[in-house]
């Protein structure tokens, strides 16, 4: 039976050799990296910060509770 380190080593070389031998797939990998960069390093960081980040659970339930118990607002259900 193979040692765990040997198993990890063969998995590593499987992926490494796979990526190295890519031809048409190479631009796709760059495309994925570019997309993930745009999503996580730009959009997530600068435009999509969770509104309730940093609040405790109590503060979150307080905020949502307040919103739920407000009286119906002027018609915002536009179609």
């Amino acid at each position: 039976m193979k040692k765990p380190s040997a198993i990890f080593s063969s998995i590593w070389s499987f992926y490494r050799d796979g990526f190295k031998s890519m031809t048409w797939g190479r631009p796709l990998i760059w495309l994925i990296i570019l997309k993930l960069f745009i999503l996580f390093a730009i959009l997530r960081v600068f435009f999509f910060r969770p509104v309730m980040a940093g609040m405790t659970d109590e503060q979150k339930s307080e905020q949502v509770g307040e919103r739920l118990t407000e009286k119906p607002v002027n018609n915002t259900l536009n179609y």
Binding site: R49, V64, L68
Partner: protein, 497 residues
């Protein structure tokens, strides 16, 4: 146009964009699996090369589609924070399971599928190809469990202390997982993916036949793709029937809007297009009884008695219950620390009316009516185009099976046109499902105007246009790479990748 509009339109655009990639992933996974199985069983290199070509197109679609679903999760936290908190673990658990499954199954088996042709055994490779598709399908299930709960919120109880819908036990989790709406949506969505994959293979193969290239590859691809698509079409019809019955049971307003049915009744007719009706068919489709009662928009607004003899309250009555629930929630939260007895009484009233809580936010009963025209026509396009595609798949399989492709050339342009039509069909299906349930994010519990965050319309508008630009760019790149790969064709695709 206010922040509700921009939040909704942004979410709709992101979901619609995501759904451009998912069906082809699900469908091509089936086609590749069948082709590689033929290779392993028949030991015929032709099927290996054929499977490899379609895998290449699968990879292009996968690469551009990857992580598009994550954007929806960004939007939950930013644009839909009230909703995200309200649904709590109920929504988080299925999405977490989906994320873990998708990552591990797809990262592992996808890599074996592409890198492992000469490194692992044939059977292990075949298993990896199937498991890539199965992983994507299981992912779809968890997503649709979350979506199905929004359409039919079973298994949860509203907790006024945390202001969340919570699952109380393991059996509640099972209730959520086996939600009939989720199950039928899953079957409908996945098998519609098989149709998309099938017609994609048939359409691309038809293009080769038009150009006189790779004729044997194209004929056999049409056979496999066409059969996968046909099986998918049959399953879509069955699961669509089940979806119709569930809509009648859990979301009658959606069904009434999809039919443009103002006043319902027994033996209701199905409208093919305005002016052409099939007597009693709507009753049969909705209740499996030609004389079953189908409520129309006015019946739902005014209250009616359903097929089991239960009185369904009018929207005005539900609004009164909802306001009572919200008032009780306010009283409970104010008094729970100072007057526990009164707070307990308020909690009792709240939980007694909790199923109508969302109605308390409505201004007038008509707010529960979705945009009828959009839902009505999207429903008709979905069914009409779906039937056209099923017919084209059937004719393509017959032509390939009976070796009539050379004489049925008229079929090729139609098959090619059916590729974009399959995407349009899928989008129409989601429009029916999601626009048809407006104004709810969670049926009966939370309308969209309460579910959104306190953001300015301009902030959401900005990210909408950023997404629009990014999505358009990536879609253009995908189409370009995809068309390039198709133009090269299977003969250029024999490399070990």
């Amino acid at each position: 146009m206010d922040v509700v509009f921009w939040s909704r339109i942004q979410f709709a655009m992101t979901a619609a964009y995501h759904w451009l990639f998912v069906p082809l992933t699900l469908g091509l996974a089936m086609v590749m699996g069948v082709m590689e199985t033929l290779y392993v069983v028949k030991k015929d290199e032709f099927w290996k090369k054929t499977a490899q070509f379609w895998m290449k197109l699968f990879a292009v679609n996968f690469a551009v589609g990857i992580a598009t679903g994550i954007i929806l999760e960004f939007e939950f936290g930013t644009n839909w924070s009230n909703y995200s908190w309200f649904v709590g673990d109920m929504f988080g658990a299925p999405l977490a399971i989906e994320g873990i499954l998708a990552f591990f199954m797809e990262a592992t088996f996808f890599a074996v599928m592409f890198f492992g042709w000469n490194k692992v055994g044939k059977k292990f490779h075949l298993a990896s190809t199937w498991l890539t598709g199965i992983g994507a399908t299981i992912s779809a299930y968890w997503i649709l469990v979350a979506n199905g709960w929004m359409q039919n919120p079973v298994g949860t109880t509203f907790n006024p202390d945390t202001v969340r819908s919570e699952m109380a036990s393991v059996s509640a989790f099972w209730e959520v997982v086996s939600n009939p709406v989720a199950v039928s949506k899953f079957c409908h969505a996945v098998t519609s993916g098989w149709v998309t994959g099938g017609i994609f293979v048939v359409g691309v193969s038809a293009w080769y036949l038009l150009k006189g290239r790779h004729t044997e590859f194209a004929r056999k691809s049409i056979l496999v793709g066409g059969l996968v698509g046909l099986i998918g079409s049959g399953a879509v019809m069955l699961s669509g029937d089940s979806s119709g019955v569930h809509a009648a049971e859990f979301q009658p307003m959606k069904l009434a809007a999809a039919e443009g049915l103002r006043d319902g009744g027994r033996g209701a007719a199905f409208t093919i297009v305005p002016g052409i009706k099939v007597p009693k068919m709507l009753s049969f489709l909705a209740t499996h009884d030609f004389n079953g009662f189908v409520p129309g928009i006015n019946d739902i607004l005014n209250g009616y008695t359903d097929n089991d003899g239960n009185y369904i309250p009018s929207v005005a009555e539900k609004m009164a219950c909802g306001r009572e629930a919200l008032d009780a929630l306010a009283a409970y939260r104010e008094l729970r620390d100072v007057d526990p007895m009164t707070a307990a009484a308020a909690k009792y009233v709240l939980l007694d009316n909790a199923q109508y809580m969302g109605y308390g936010h409505l201004e007038k009963p008509e707010d529960v009516v979705p945009p009828v025209g959009i839902v009505f026509w999207a429903f008709r396009f979905m069914i009409g185009l779906g039937m056209l595609i099923a017919l084209v798949l059937l004719l393509s399989v017959i032509a390939a099976w009976k070796d009539k492709l050379a004489t049925w050339k008229w079929l090729f342009p139609i098959a090619i046109i059916c590729i974009p039509l399959a995407y349009l069909t899928g989008q129409c299906g989601w429009i029916v499902a999601e626009v048809g349930r407006q104004p709810w994010t969670i049926q009966g519990l939370l309308p969209v105007n309460v579910a959104i965050s306190s953001l300015s319309a301009a902030a959401v508008q900005t990210t909408f246009f950023i997404f629009l630009a990014v999505f358009a760019l990536f879609l253009a790149i995908e189409i370009r790479i995809m068309l390039g790969a198709i133009r090269k064709g299977p003969a250029a695709d024999l490399k070990n990748e």
